[in-house]
Symmetry: C2
Subunit: 421 residues, 2 copies
């Protein structure tokens, strides 16, 4: 068995649970937050430091590693764990999402996806078989099915127009024609969603058949369906009918508002098997994580702590702070008082008399001076912040004290745009 | 007393010695190599990691910190040690070298130097008094005198011309006139050197008078004189006649070949007091360090390990290797077998089964993918390499086994260009 999932505690008030997932490279606690190491590296963070933030599993991206350095080099190096010096569990995505969203896409059909490499412009073909073969070479503990990921619904089909957007402009058609266009656009998108949904199930069967390392790599299936709950139900039933060690919710957090994420997850998670880990892909902010945990989700990944950290945005329980801001020029407090990260608690400082944390005035200086240490320190803080938040969520499950968590993290109650920064 | 220097061992074969320098922030062993943290950060390296490379003292640049974030902010933060989280000894240069070499220079006279800030274009004036005042605010354990650093001799005055460089060109003057120009140029440069030398001594008196923290900051004087040994003698006599806790050789490693560095240092170091630490500024490669230690030098700083590390050039005892090179694409060896750094020994990796060092194939991948972790890991290796080299030198002094050192570090015997990379 490639993976063992044990539920430890269940909330009496919602679908939340805590658990443990055991893999060939060790155990991780759930609900779990997985930092993203796209190109076999969490940007700016040594694996030993990543472990010290409390991360027990990390993610790498098949698409990027397929293009560079290529799976053959990583396989010859002894697999991804040895290659990147991370000897705890790893999850790889299938490359599908990036192939559909990042690439110069040429052809999508039942065979797979043909796209141009962003590295050297060469043509690359990904199919369910190829995506699994590459992930077998990389050797992650958890690998993801190759799914058909259509682009999110175009914004201009979301609302029925009530006026001509550009009455003086180049589009002389009457409002009636514009409305017809929108309706056609929405219908076309719905059809594409259905097609992708059906193809994802057919591809999942092929992924499972192609998987050559089922004894030490756990293949997860992915539920699609966009924001259409009927499509989600259909997908969950078909995907979860295929026996696998775990299942994921995909196609979420592709630009929709936070309440839509919560609505889709609250609908879909209960449709997934109780005894398998549930993974919500690419989510997200604190309140998105909390809502998903309460719906019964166990695993998360997101670039927010690392990407925002590199941009000088530091997470705190009351919202993000932008360390480039002039108000921090003379601020001798750490990012978050009481945080035990390398930046706030000063474990990244040298020992000596008066050793303490790195303060906001110094961090601001590092960013304004373009010093690498700024992104490094704020990334370390953000990663630790997310791990502390997940630990607090696990405690809330055990105690069923959700109000206590919300008091400690006012940010989860924040309305309006998800990103307060 | 701001600084105590104890000589522990002396070579019987040359002027080399080992010792200890004790400062208010602790002790460092000599001969010492000081990594450079220009803007209050050794690029990409947490202070705790810097300490783990064996560094016992680091350097920061007054010029850069004066312009950004400014000495007032650092003073209010409790000084440089607290600001940057490095609680071991720190040395700051005076800003003179950068003001003369990097700035849009407007005026140099006995008062000081007027130049434009590279940060915001504003006019900045540095004088001996101001340079010391700023360093008093920064609070380093060792501070440097403000010296007059003329530009190195222009290359076109170094040789007497034997032919017209551009016979078809716009300079129609006969060879005789060109020769006269060169001679005039060399004479002008020699005069500028003498002027700078004399001014440096006058400024040193003013630096000493302006120094407000002599009880906890050790002011070092700087010997100038270019490659002119008579000028060096004059400068050493005048500078060392002013009672100070230490002295430095400046104006070296400004582009001249390795044998010229060795010649100037071999001449100058013995002119400096036996009982004070001798600091050779801005040097250098392994053979430059070794030659200077044998001449009696105790302290060094250089950007080589950090700058070259960021450019994927890794130091080894047989010379630098360029990790971007395609020959390393499938090379599963560490940078240097037997090295105990975070990269080679894998102490930067997470714990776990099969944990080992980061190999050249991975490092190459990181550089080609533009991942920060590449510069970080190679910087950590290079910093540790330089500290190991200095420890080996200290052992050679104790054993007087210089041949053994040269066998272990073939790179020190290399002739030709200093940089083999």
């Amino acid at each position: 068995m490639s993976l063992r999932f044990t539920v430890l505690q269940r909330s009496g008030l919602c679908n939340a649970r805590t658990g443990q997932v055991t893999t060939p490279h060790g155990m991780f606690e759930t609900p779990a937050f997985m930092p993203v190491g796209t190109r076999a590296s969490v940007k700016g963070v040594l694996p030993a430091m990543l472990a010290s933030t409390g991360a027990q599993i990390c993610l790498a991206n098949t698409y990027h590693l397929l293009l560079r350095p290529g799976p053959d080099i990583i396989e010859r190096a002894g697999g991804l764990h040895r290659f990147m010096g991370w000897h705890a569990p790893i999850l790889t995505d299938s490359g599908g999402y990036q192939a559909f969203s990042m690439a110069d896409l040429n052809r999508v059909d039942d065979e797979g996806v043909l796209f141009r490499s962003v590295v050297d412009g060469s043509w690359v073909h990904l199919s369910p078989e190829r995506a699994i073969r590459v992930q077998n070479q990389l050797g992650a503990d958890i690998i993801m099915a190759f799914d058909d990921c259509p682009a999110a619904e175009p914004a201009d089909t979301l609302a029925t127009p009530t006026h001509r957007p550009d009455p003086q402009g180049s589009d002389p058609r009457p409002l009636r024609a514009l409305r017809r266009d929108r309706i056609d656009g929405r219908a076309a998108h719905a059809q594409r969603l259905r097609q992708a949904n059906e193809r994802t199930v057919r591809w999942l069967e092929r992924c499972k058949a192609a998987h050559a390392r089922a004894s030490d790599q756990a293949l997860f299936g992915i539920i699609q369906g966009g924001t259409d709950l009927e499509q989600r139900t259909w997908s969950a039933q078909r995907v979860c009918a295929i026996e696998l060690p775990g299942y994921a919710i995909g196609g979420v957090a592709v630009g929709e508002p936070s309440d839509q994420i919560a609505r889709v997850v609250a609908h879909t998670a209960p449709l997934m098997p109780e005894d398998r880990p549930r993974y919500l892909m690419g989510v997200g902010y604190e309140r998105d994580l909390l809502a998903a945990v309460r719906a019964g989700v166990d695993m998360f990944d997101c670039v927010l702590p690392t990407r925002n950290g590199r941009n000088a945005n530091a997470f705190t329980p009351t919202g993000q702070i932008r360390l480039r801001n002039a108000v921090y020029a003379d601020d001798r407090r750490p990012i978050e008082s009481g945080c035990d990260c390398a930046a706030c608690a000063g474990t990244g400082a040298s020992h000596g008399p008066g050793a303490g944390g790195f303060s906001r005035d110094y961090l601001r200086h590092l960013f304004l001076a373009g010093e690498m240490l700024g992104p490094i320190l704020v990334t370390l803080h953000n990663l630790r912040y997310f791990q502390r938040f997940m630990a607090r969520i696990r405690r809330a499950v055990a105690d069923d004290d959700w109000a206590g968590l919300e008091r400690e993290y006012p940010v989860v109650a924040r309305s309006g745009p998800t990103n307060p920064g």
